[in-house]
Structure formats: structure tokens, C-alpha cells
């Protein structure tokens, strides 16, 4: 069973279908690994052991009849922000403690149809607000490559569990980099699809014009397989794009000759760690040596992206989080009247970062400041979007670092919100423009910490991104699971 840690889902699925392994044994293998190793990294908020075995049993029945797809019987971990019927879904917040969704998010429904096995709920920054998973109200997740460092965030539990081999793959969500940055910092693959590619129905909302669900996996093939399963139009999400879905695995392994790759000069500025820069530049020359045309491009409004994002996303969050009022679900703290009940409930239920963003969001939307902040930021968002539109007239893909640094130490940035916000500088513009992008491992720094390469594409062009990422993966053949978890 150990060897499955080094296989992709396609090969594991093959073993399951040929009855060389059973989904029950595979699930047991992962449950045992979680029990043995998760105390080191605290990636799981909850293991759903009974449900996992039940789902494995159901998958087995299908596999015995030679039925089922690529994900039938595959054990996955789920970020605790995706509503799953009958399983407590907390968003790592105290305000949703005990909340049991009466329905499945569309992505969960789709995965259930495929016959996946639900291993458990993965930790995250509360309401996905953070870049280090230190804002979880339950526990601090550690980076499997260095236990004194953060795994990134907000999908830190998802990335660390995949990197430590505590699930075959996982789902995360990305509002400003929350899939790509933890994937980069944990040495795994993470994709943020085009806005609208994957239904957001049942994703607990943070910033609705920016949120997307995507896979976090140990290799690019798995990423393509999960993209196949979760993509597609959904009438339950009015922002879902009515476009047919491509078989993303078919995109992999294609020649990259003639591919036009843009390198934005604004992304190689001061503040990038030399090892990160070196590793990214090395990948660019690998593309070039294999026949891609590499060209310097300009995304002139890059420096305004963080300011724009930290106006727009808290504004949307302050509105989305108004629903936590102690009436319909979650925590309630009693008060003498309804206003006091709201205030006390929200005081006790929300953590510090969430309250900070609600205040910031309420402020920028409040009368007298709306034009100065929210409207201004929405206009700058147009400029950022147009930068990409111009760039994609001359190139097919844009290649950049994911994060200016490798994983930082736990506690290093948690007292300075602005410093933390700036760590998302290379991932945020992609969300503002609604584009698809991947983080693929491209090397290690001198301390042995993983580095991620970001590949950005045109809207709905995930296939081309996946192919380029697959190419780098095949060239680099990097180690995926740290020794202490093998």
C-alpha cells in the first residue's frame, strides 16, 4: 500500500479496478496514516472515519462490478469551508461550531457521484481570511517540510495534508491566493480555476466576486482529474459559466514548442528571496530550451493590486458575514435585546482577523467613504484586468513566482496584518481579473523549503496551463513527500 503514495490517481484507480487493492484497504491505509502523523502537523480538524469506511464500502461495490470512474474509492480531504450534508462544517470559526449543513455543495455532490471517500475536514484560516492558517480558531497547522513554519493559507490544512501523504488529494478555495500560496509553500500542486468554471454553490462565501474552488494535489495529473470532476455549469450558481468542459487530462504531455510565455517585469522586484528568483528563472530557461518563445511583458498596475484587493475583499466579506447573527445557525450569546444579542454573538464567535476585515469592509462601504475607497478600488480593478487582456494579446501564458518567499516561521508575521497581506502580492492580481492559474513545485531553497512556480492563463484556458505545469513537473521530478512522513 505504501507505493500508492508515489502514484497518481490514474494509476491508483487502475489498481482498484484490477482488484489489486480494495478501496477499503486504501481508506484504512490513509486513516492509519492520519492517526500516526497528523499530530505533527494538525492539518485535520476532524477525521470522518465511519463515513469514510461507509463510502469506501459503497465504492467497492461499484468497483467489483467494474463500474465507476477515476475517483471511485479515492480518499480525499475537504477544506472545512465546503458544505457537506450531515458533516459539521465550521470554516474554522467558533461562530459556526456545530453547524451541520442540510445540503451538499455542488463540488461535493459531484465528487460523491464519482464515488470518492471523505476522509475528513481540513483546517484553514477562519473564513479563509489569512495567508498562514494561523487564524484558525481551533489549531495551528504546521508545514510538513519544517514543523516550525506555516503551511501558507488559507487552505493550509489542505496543502499540508497532501504534502504529508495524509490524503490522496484535497479541495481548497482561493480568494487571493489561498490555494496557490499554500500549495507552493508545501511543495504540492494547486489550481485556481477561471472564475465561474467551478460552481460556488455551498462554498461558504468570503468575497463572492473573487472566491473559487480548486484542487490541491501531489501531481499535475491528479489536478487535471479533479478538475474534470468538479468543473462545469451549475444552475445553482448564477455566476457559473455555461461552457462545456474539456477533458483536462488530454491536455497533458503536449509539445510546448511555439508556446508564447510572458514574463512580467513587475514580478521580479526587490523583496523576492534570491533562491525563489533563481528557481523561477531556471524554469523559464527550461521552457525556452524546449522551444517556447519567452518575452518580457509589463503588467503596469501590479503594485496597486494588494491595496485594491484589501478594499474589495473586506467590503464583500463585511456583507457576506452579516448573516452570522445568532438566529439561523451557529453560536448565539444572549443579550437584553436583539442588537445586544447580535453584538455579543459576533464578539464571541469571530476571531481578530475576521473582525478586522469586517470593520475595514464596513468602513470602506460606509457613507462618505464609498467613492474614495470602494469605487476607486473597483476602477483600479478594471485597470488590472486590462493589463492582463493586453498581455494575453502577445503571449499564451504568464509565468511568475507564487510567493516572494518560502514558508515563514509561525508567529513571524501574525502581529502585522499589512506585512501578512503583502505576502499575497503575486497571487492577488489573478483573482481580481478572474483568471485561471496554477502553482507547480519548481525547486527548494537552501533550507530545503519548497518553491512554487505560478502559471497564469487566459479565461477558461486551464488546459494549456496544466500542460505547461506537467512539462515542468516531468523535467524537475521533485520529491513530493518529506522523509519524516515516509
Amino acid at each position: 500500500m505504501e507505493e500508492t503514495l508515489h502514484l497518481n490517481i490514474k494509476d491508483i484507480s487502475h489498481l482498484l479496478k484490477n482488484r489489486e487493492i480494495t478501496s477499503f484497504a486504501l481508506t484504512e491505509f490513509y486513516i492509519k496514516r492520519i492517526k500516526k502523523y497528523d499530530s505533527m502537523i494538525s492539518s485535520y480538524l476532524k477525521i470522518t472515519e465511519d463515513i469514510a469506511y461507509e463510502m469506501a464500502y459503497e465504492a467497492n461495490k461499484r468497483l467489483e462490478k467494474k463500474e465507476g470512474g477515476m475517483l471511485t474509492g479515492i480518499p480525499l480531504g475537504i477544506k472545512d469551508i465546503l458544505c457537506t450534508e450531515g458533516i459539521e462544517t465550521t470554516c474554522a470559526s467558533q461562530i459556526l461550531k456545530g453547524f451541520i449543513p442540510p445540503y451538499d455543495a455542488t463540488v461535493i455532490k459531484k465528487l460523491k457521484k464519482e464515488g470518492f471517500v471523505h476522509l475528513g475536514r481540513l483546517n484553514m484560516d477562519e473564513f479563509a481570511m489569512g495567508s498562514s492558517t494561523e487564524n484558525s480558531s481551533y489549531q495551528i497547522t504546521k508545514n510538513p517540510w519544517a514543523l516550525d513554519r506555516i503551511p501558507g493559507g488559507s487552505s493550509g490544512g489542505s496543502a499540508s495534508a497532501v504534502a504529508a501523504g495524509l490524503c490522496v488529494a484535497s479541495l481548497g478555495t482561493d480568494t487571493g491566493g489561498s490555494i496557490r500560496q499554500p500549495a507552493a509553500l508545501c511543495g504540492v500542486v494547486g489550481m485556481k480555476p477561471t472564475y465561474g468554471r467551478v460552481s460556488r454553490y455551498g462554498l461558504i462565501a468570503f468575497a463572492s466576486s473573487l472566491d473559487q474552488i480548486g484542487p490541491i494535489t501531489r501531481n499535475v495529473t491528479d489536478c487535471a482529474i479533479i478538475m474534470n470532476a468538479i468543473s462545469g455549469h451549475d444552475p445553482m450558481d448564477s455566476t457559473s459559466i455555461p461552457q462545456p468542459v474539456f477533458d483536462f487530462t488530454e491536455a497533458l504531455g503536449k509539445d510546448i514548442k511555439g508556446l508564447k510565455i510572458g514574463i512580467p517585469k513587475e514580478y521580479f522586484i526587490e523583496g523576492i528571496e534570491p533562491d525563489v528568483k533563481k528557481s523561477v528563472i531556471e524554469c523559464i530557461s527550461i521552457f525556452e530550451k524546449n522551444g517556447a518563445h519567452v518575452e518580457e511583458i509589463s503588467l503596469p498596475h501590479t503594485e496597486y493590486a494588494v491595496a485594491t484587493y484589501y478594499i474589495i475583499s473586506p467590503a464583500e466579506a463585511s456583507s457576506n458575514l452579516a448573516r452570522y447573527d445568532g438566529v439561523k445557525y451557529g453560536l448565539r450569546v444572549d443579550g437584553k435585546d436583539i442588537i445586544e444579542m447580535y453584538k455579543k454573538t459576533r464578539l464571541k464567535g469571530f476571531g481578530r482577523e475576521v473582525k478586522r476585515r469586517i470593520i475595514l469592509g464596513t468602513y470602506v462601504l460606509s457613507s462618505g467613504y464609498y467613492d474614495a475607497y470602494y469605487r476607486k478600488a473597483s476602477q483600479v480593478r478594471t485597470l488590472i484586468r486590462k493589463d492582463f487582456e493586453e498581455a494575453f494579446k502577445v503571449c499564451d501564458l504568464i509565468v511568475t513566482p507564487v510567493s516572494p518567499t518560502t514558508a515563514f516561521k509561525i508567529g513571524e508575521k501574525s502581529d502585522d496584518p499589512l506585512k501578512m497581506y503583502l505576502s499575497d502580492i503575486f497571487t492577488i492580481p489573478v483573482n481580481l481579473a478572474g483568471l485561471p492559474a496554477i502553482s507547480v513545485p519548481c525547486g527548494f531553497d537552501s533550507l530545503g523549503l519548497p518553491i512554487g512556480l505560478q502559471i497564469i492563463g487566459r479565461p477558461l484556458d486551464e488546459a494549456r496551463i496544466l500542460n505547461a505545469a506537467f512539462f515542468i513537473e516531468q523535467e524537475k521530478k521533485l520529491k513530493k513527500i518529506p522523509d519524516m512522513f515516509l
Binding site: 456545530g98 453547524f99 451541520i100 442540510p102 445540503y103 465561474g196 466576486s209 473573487l210 444552475p235 448564477s238 455566476t239 459559466i241 498596475h301 503594485e303 496597486y304 491595496a307 485594491t308 478594499i311 463585511s318 452579516a322 447573527d325 445568532g326 438566529v327 439561523k328 445557525y329 451557529g330 453560536l331 448565539r332 443579550g335 435585546d337 436583539i338 445586544e340 444579542m341 447580535y342 453584538k343 455579543k344 459576533r346 464578539l347 469571530f350 481578530r352 473582525k355 478586522r356 470593520i359 464596513t362 468602513y363 460606509s366 474614495a372 475607497y373 476607486k376 476602477q379 483600479v380 478594471t382 485597470l383 484586468r385 499589512l418 483573482n431 481579473a433 478572474g434 483568471l435 479565461p459
Partner: protein
């Protein structure tokens, strides 16, 4: 545009948040530094730029007006901290004079 402790208290009230005393000063300082950083947006002339509220332009999305199955009352209220029968229970909203 410096914000003060009073602004933070007022905005927190708008957002129906009670703050701990020590949080007020902390948020005032942090928000001032965040808003200072955001001043850089004013370097850009955006007077003729349309705002983007949504990254992908979609037409108004409507569905057919058909009756479909929906959640039962039981399912919809199962997570309520307090309920009476099929209703959510809340503290009094309207003051009643004796």
C-alpha cells in the same frame, strides 16, 4: 484621513460587533496603517474608468419560473440555536409598553 477610536467604535456598531476595550486601540492603529497604504491608489487617475464589480461579464441570469422541490421547514431550521416549532426564536425586537 486619520481614523480615531471613535470611528472604530461607530463602524463596529454599524457592523453589529462588540469590541473588547483593548481591541479598539489596536484596530485604530492597524487600520490607519492599512488605509495609509491604500492611499497609493490616489496616484492613479481613474476619472474615465468603468468600475469592475465582477470579473466575468454575464448576462442577467434567470431560470424558468417552475415549482421545484425545496428544503423542508425541519431541515431549514435544524441548526437554529433556538426555535419554537417551525419558527426561529429571537429576543424582542419591538418594545412593548406596560
Amino acid at each position: 484621513m486619520k481614523i480615531t477610536d471613535e470611528t472604530i467604535k461607530y463602524v463596529a456598531h454599524l457592523a453589529r460587533l462588540e469590541l473588547e476595550e483593548k481591541e479598539i486601540g489596536l484596530y485604530t492603529n492597524q487600520l490607519n496603517s492599512i488605509l495609509d497604504y491604500m492611499e497609493k491608489l490616489n496616484k492613479l487617475d481613474t476619472s474615465n474608468i468603468e468600475p469592475t464589480s465582477h470579473p466575468i461579464a454575464l448576462e442577467c441570469v434567470l431560470r424558468e419560473d417552475e415549482v421545484k422541490e425545496s428544503f423542508s421547514v425541519e431541515k431549514s431550521t435544524q441548526n437554529a440555536p433556538e426555535r419554537i416549532g417551525s419558527f426561529f426564536k429571537v429576543p424582542p425586537i419591538i418594545e412593548i409598553e406596560d
